[in-house]
């Protein structure tokens, strides 16, 4: 039971990564690989603000804004300076390695003087997070069905259409990548809150978790309809976390999880015969 609860908790936190991949890879057609750095950025900004005494909510908001700013810069340098999105996001990822260390001041920083036990009592924490994630789902689904949301989510697949009806596709791309990076940073801050510390290598490999989760979800739910596309991020994440939980119980070393995930992701990408399913083309 405890293990299942832990899988559920990790699913709630990591579903934000898969959701961000929907915004960047799918809606914006912008393969954003800066996720590892942005995830850590969220964690370090959160812990730093907590240590400054800003409180939990404000610290989460600070992480969200820091992530959104990083995403904004990634998209902007790609679109404006005409740098390939893959390269632009990797450049930001590298910059964030240094920046995260500078913000945190050291490689690992625990959250002192904070009563974590009180927060985790009685599972309220998970319930609260699950409610938050559900609220986000409703918000995202509703927004992307509106007139402006419909236009924004087609910027990756039909930029010519948007330009021909007078829409600024640059703005839409920047918005999607910022939004995606913002929630990735929130995911990082949630994980650092759960662990009670921030570490500069906390985000290592999160991009692969996001992509693997999304591909698994899309294989099951499809992605032709908006509802299915968004639900795929959640279901895929849960199944991925479940698989990792089972693998760990079966005796796989925690240090090998990323190796196994990487190989499985390569397999899933290779299986995507449909040209549209390919994430990087």
């Amino acid at each position: 039971m405890n293990q299942l609860l832990s899988i559920f908790e990790m699913s709630v936190i990591m579903s934000l990564i898969a959701l961000a991949a929907v915004f960047t890879f799918r809606f914006a057609g912008f393969p954003d690989l800066s996720v590892d750095g942005v995830f850590t950025l969220g964690a370090v900004v959160f812990v730093k603000f907590m240590l400054f005494g800003f409180g939990v909510l404000f610290s989460f908001i600070a992480a969200l804004l820091a992530g959104a700013l990083a995403g904004c810069i990634t998209a902007f340098i790609s679109v404006r300076l005409k740098i390939n999105p893959l390269l632009a996001s990797v450049l930001i990822l590298i910059i964030l390695y240094s920046l995260n260390l500078r913000i945190l001041g050291k490689a690992n920083q625990p959250l002192y003087n904070f009563d974590m036990i009180g927060w985790f009592k009685g599972g309220y924490w998970i319930l609260l997070m699950a409610l938050g994630i559900f609220f986000l789902f409703v918000l995202v689904y509703t927004f992307f069905r509106t007139q402006i949301g419909s236009a924004i989510r087609t910027v990756g697949s039909s930029p010519e259409f948007l330009v021909s009806v007078g829409r600024n596709v640059t703005l839409y791309k920047v918005f999607l990548v910022s939004f995606g990076s913002g929630i990735v940073a929130v995911s990082g801050s949630l994980l650092s809150f759960k662990y009670g510390f921030a570490d500069v290598s906390l985000g290592m490999g999160t991009i692969i978790i996001g992509i693997a989760s999304l591909i698994i979800g899309e294989k099951i739910c499809g992605r032709e309809k908006l509802f299915n596309q968004i639900v795929a991020a959640y279901i895929g994440t849960f199944l991925y976390q479940l698989a990792v939980g089972v693998a760990l119980s079966a005796g796989i070393s925690p240090t090998d999880v990323k190796l196994v995930t990487g190989i499985i992701t390569i397999g899933l990408l290779a299986l995507g015969k449909d040209e549209e399913e390919r994430l990087f083309t």
Partner: protein, 243 residues
Amino acid sequence: MKKNGYLLKISEVSKAFKQPSGEDLNVLINASLDIAIKNIVALMGPNGCGKSTLLNIISGNIVPDNGEIILNGNNITVLPAFKRAQIIGRVHQESYKSLASLLTVSEILSISMRRGKNLLLSFASSETTIQKIGEYSAELAMFLSTREDVPTRVLSGGQRQLLALAIAVLGTPKLLLLDEHMASLDEQYKGIADKLLETYINKNDASVIVVTHDYRWATSMSNAIATYEMGTFKLMSSNKSIE
């Protein structure tokens, strides 16, 4: 526009493309073309002569090497494509470029209706849009109203082209650029498209540039035919009288 009687003035526009060999391919050489108000101009010439390039230069998708484009009295030579689209409607040669494969007919119409205005944070509705189309063509309005919830990707090639034409006239642009917009249309749909164009330009004092290889259509529907000649387009009036 009013001063010179022309909606669009293209003055000495040139465009060269780099070939794989490294040499320049001069597609347009000091091309000039003036389009009067309420005119349909057919752009004709052999494949690869630069008809679509000229449309792309007018719409802002390709920047010319030199020359000037005046639309509605304003110099738009360096204006970004999405800003020009506020007064230019376009049907691309490849219909997928004119549509959004993820959206339904209703969603796509509702976005297109807001040409030149901010999009709304409300759910897409195509009721007023279809009414607007009905002012130009009752048949097209009927066609659209029976397919409102259909995703555009499942429409046939001809249906997509007809939808692309409907999108091009929404938001009442002054100039329409149609690149072989009838290539996939059957006779019935061609009739709908022709009627829509005629009613549209008469109601809105608009003009249309059509890239076509159909000489019969050009002589019957257009007021003037621009034919490619040595890097530029030469305008001559067609059989149809200019209103």
